[in-house]
């Protein structure tokens, strides 16, 4: 038994109430009986339904929107446009200091992606709302669109942002930068230079329950919002900012989420449904159709990552340069933050003395990307580990060995200037080898995370 597993075995001999035991789920009986109440299971007498008028094109100018035919649909109640939204332009991460605001709740004079909301229609039934949406006449002027991160950065690309670039500006810089050591010197000393480009595709979270909320006016002047958001207070705060009401006006009820995976942390349905409840005095439900969930809700962002590594014959990586591009789609959502996380992690869990990283958050005319399970880091890990295998293959070294040699030890400095204090990679790899039935050679088994062995 390895040191790690024996340490774990020692620990579980202690008596814990929960650790090491199977605990029945508190919500389990509700789930298997169908008694758990999901947002779409909630309805109120007199409840209205909201549906969005969406852009049919990827990029364009809104010349005119004509609601006259929509208003004649039986059951039509009212329309909401950007003029009705107190603070129409927002950015979700303003709560952690990300700016400037750049996404409209409802489009003003331009649309940047296919499916972008232009106006909301509130009606007595869902069918009436859909019917009214289909009768809205849009007069749009189509503009050239861009769908590739590197195309978007070329001179002459259609510019999507009011500040005049297609990238997010990080403290005055065109990308999130990490500089550590001297990467060019490292390349000059290296025995091998190993280059590769890695691409990942967008992924839709596809939760089984679609994004939804119900906003209900209360007699005391407050609004109760039942929602399946993954970020209840974050969503409440953003809703209050968008609607310019004190937080105390809103009571958010949630926690039951029919699958999220990061797809339900954007603040999308709640502000507009709450606004509709304010303007009509009625409870309002806004539930995405499956089509909206698949085509309009945010995805994991697509990435392109260029790696250049300088490697010594003995397997040490002595220099790594990475240029990464995240496709944020048309708006920020959570991607500026994903790019920062990416920049901090794309050198991998390995000690490399010379590192140079440029990570760009790029806007295109795709539907906005956002959070999904380790966003920013997941594509980095994919690229890093593919690259480690490529290095092993190129220099003719065992892929386990290359990782053991380069793995972080406690006390190592990471490229973004954080000292490693809790390294576990070597122990995890030993445990993984054991589980996979792979016999590691003695000299690797002797390694551990708390000290770097003298070569």
């Amino acid at each position: 038994m390895s040191e790690v597993t024996s340490a774990v075995a020692r620990d579980v001999k202690k008596e814990f109430h929960v650790v090491g035991k199977s605990v029945p789920r508190r919500d389990g009986v509700g789930h298997v009986t169908g008694k758990t109440v999901y947002v779409d299971d909630i309805s109120f007498p007199g409840m209205l339904h909201l549906k969005m008028v969406r852009s049919p094109i990827h990029h364009g100018i809104i010349r005119n929107v004509d609601f006259s035919a929509a208003e004649k649909v039986p059951g039509f109640v009212r329309v909401l446009t950007h003029r009705d939204v107190p603070k129409n332009i927002y950015t979700i991460l303003c709560l952690i200091g990300v700016g400037p605001d750049e996404e409209p709740v409802l489009a003003v004079d331009r649309v940047l992606y296919k499916g972008e909301p232009i106006a909301a229609i509130v009606a007595e039934t869902e069918e009436a709302a859909m019917e009214a949406v289909s009768r809205v006449r849009l007069d749009l002027e189509e503009l050239p669109a861009v769908f590739d991160v590197e195309e978007a950065l070329k001179p002459g690309a259609p510019i999507l942002k009011p500040w005049g670039t297609n990238y997010f500006v990080y403290e005055g810089h065109h990308c999130r930068r990490v500089r550590f050591g001297d990467v060019e010197k490292g390349f000059a000393q290296a025995d091998y230079i190993i280059e590769e480009v890695y691409n990942t595709s967008p992924i839709e979270h596809a939760p089984t329950e679609t994004t939804a909320c119900v906003a209900k006016p209360e007699p005391d002047g407050r609004y109760t919002v039942y929602t399946n958001t993954q970020a209840l207070f974050f969503t409440m705060d953003n809703t209050a900012l968008i609607l310019q009401v004190p937080f105390s006006k809103l009571h958010f009820v949630g926690g039951t989420v029919g699958g999220g995976f990061g797809g339900k942390v954007d603040v999308i349905v709640e502000p507009i449904a709450t606004l509709a409840a304010m303007k009509t005095g009625c409870p309002v439900k806004f539930k995405y159709t499956r089509e909206e969930e698949m085509r309009v809700s945010s995805t994991r962002s697509a990435w392109r990552m260029y790696f250049k590594d300088g490697v010594m014959k003995d397997g040490r990586i002595i220099a790594r340069k990475v240029i990464s591009y995240a496709d944020s789609g048309a708006y920020n959502r959570h991607t500026p933050y994903a790019v920062t996380k990416h920049a901090a992690n794309v050198a991998g869990p390995y000690f490399i003395p010379n590192v140079y990283i440029d990570a760009y958050c790029v806007y295109t005319n795709r539907q906005p990307a956002s959070a999904m399970r380790g966003f920013g880091v997941t594509p980095a890990s994919f690229a890093v580990e593919c690259q480690m295998d490529k290095i092993a293959e190129t220099i003719g070294m065992d892929p386990w060995e290359i990782r053991f040699i380069n793995a972080y030890r406690n006390g190592d400095m990471r490229p973004h200037q954080k000292v490693v204090e809790d390294a576990t990679l070597i122990e995890v790899m030993k445990a993984a080898a054991e589980l996979a039935g792979h016999q590691l050679p003695e000299h690797l088994l002797k390694m551990h995370s708390w000290d770097r062995e003298k070569a």
Partner: protein
Amino acid sequence: MASRIVAFNLNGRDVEVMVKPLTTLQTVLREHLHLTATKSGCRQGGCGTCTVLVNGEPMLSCLLPVEDIAGQQVVTLEGITPVEGLHPIQQAFFDNYAIQCGYCSPGMIMIIKALLDRNPNPTRQEVMDAIAGNVCRCTGYESILRAAEDAARRLQSA
């Protein structure tokens, strides 16, 4: 078009509903009768969360105009849930952690009920074939397959 009355048997009780033509059984269950155990993941036949039994056969209630089942027997998850405790399939789902977010669980339990009613001792492949139209985005299916096998054992020894 005018609404009309449709009568059918739901969980052992006769019900009558007033519906417009082409109203689905799913809408009747969830919106007219407020029986929300039958879920609504796509309303286009793609997810299986709305599965109910009609005369013992599993059906996607989102694709089924309620007029088409006039006079027939419908069973939903509410109909197999005992007043106290759980149905053996529900218990097996609970004990095997075949639930994460739980949104697919009602449809999964109904499709497995339909399977076990006609084939009390299915192979793993037969369970996989049975749930092929039911999407679970959370569990990775393994725990659901285990729950189905466990449910078969429980029902046979009951």
